[in-house]
Amino acid sequence: MNFFNIVLGLFLMLLIYFAIHMLINRGKIEPKYLILILSYTLLIGIPVAYYNIFPEKLNLAFYVIYYVVVLGPTFTYQVYYGLKKRQSWTQFILISIGVIFILVSPFLDFPLRLWSIGIGWAFLAGFFTYLFRYPHLNPMWLDDVAKKAAANIEKDCKYSSKPVIVLVPSRKTSCTGTFGLFLLFKRNSAIVKMSDDFHKKLGRPNMEKYAEELVKRIKERIKEEEKGVSK
């Protein structure tokens, strides 16, 4: 094993990751997301891959502090959203268990180490499947739909920092967002909040009509995926 193997492993990991995202997005990946995901994947992937290959060099304190710093913010907001009942715990549980199993792998001997990595990936695969079923949870897909939804809406309208309420019920509570857009699907309504910059970027669409169109498109897509699953 050498650095070439590490790079190859990470490259394969990224390939799988983007393949799943491309399936959700039907092929569209924007550079800003590419850079973001690439950097975050490398940040998470490099130390765990390195210590898996050179377990004798493992520094426990560094390892723990590093991952608390890198993963802490993401985990904190996921827990916060869960506690606030803005989203179900499913995606949090899937990704947390997946990541934990992979992160503990350098501490284990063969063949337990391979089992740990395998189980971790199985949970991560579950997380990606969940993302595929509820594509609005994927910021890249949401960003794309958000732009398309504004296409046929009247433009040059006024902006308000107050969220728009769309009276469409949801079976599951979920929370998502992308740069400048925040969506909260509740049991009785959907809340669409956008920043002034985001509104401006879309050409200042009519906020009510835009929010209705966006929620409609998301709901239609979720229905399609659910139909696909039930088939």
Binding site: K158, Y159, S160, P163, I165, M207, E208
Partner: protein, 181 residues
Amino acid sequence: MIDLIRVLGSEHIFEIIDFLKKTPDQNASFIGNSLEIHIITVQRVLDTLEKYGFVKSKEKRGIGRPSKTYSYLGGEFKINLDELFSGFDLKNKTIREKGNTEISFSYDVDKEIVNAILIGGKKGKKLKISPKTGRFLWLVPPPDSKGETIESISRKASIPLIDAIKFFLEMQDLEVLEAIK
């Protein structure tokens, strides 16, 4: 005027006025403790009576926060029914947000209420809103929308129609909301 009518019709009004007539220069806390009425209720009654000139207040400074003491003045007031019910015509008016660039909102997406209005940007004036009217404001449709009637929004927000109309008029003056012609 509706606030005065409400206060005059409230449960403890006679006890509070009687107490104040007999023992002037007392603060809301003392009156509340003596009559075993919640201080917020006493304060609301005294504030409204003071607004219409039936009691006067004096600021008392000492150790701790300054407090206000009240004395009974008495007097009379006339009810102008035309004025009182003039706003009620607005119940069927379709309203929406005005989209004033000087206004922004502080809100709670979980409770689904607007907590405050910020006039003149984040460093501007902050106007706090009660949870009930905050719920009403939360449900008001955005700018350039087809709008919704005050009656319909007040029903959804579970607030009395007259309070919703009064709140709308205040927000209209601040150019936060507008009626669609």
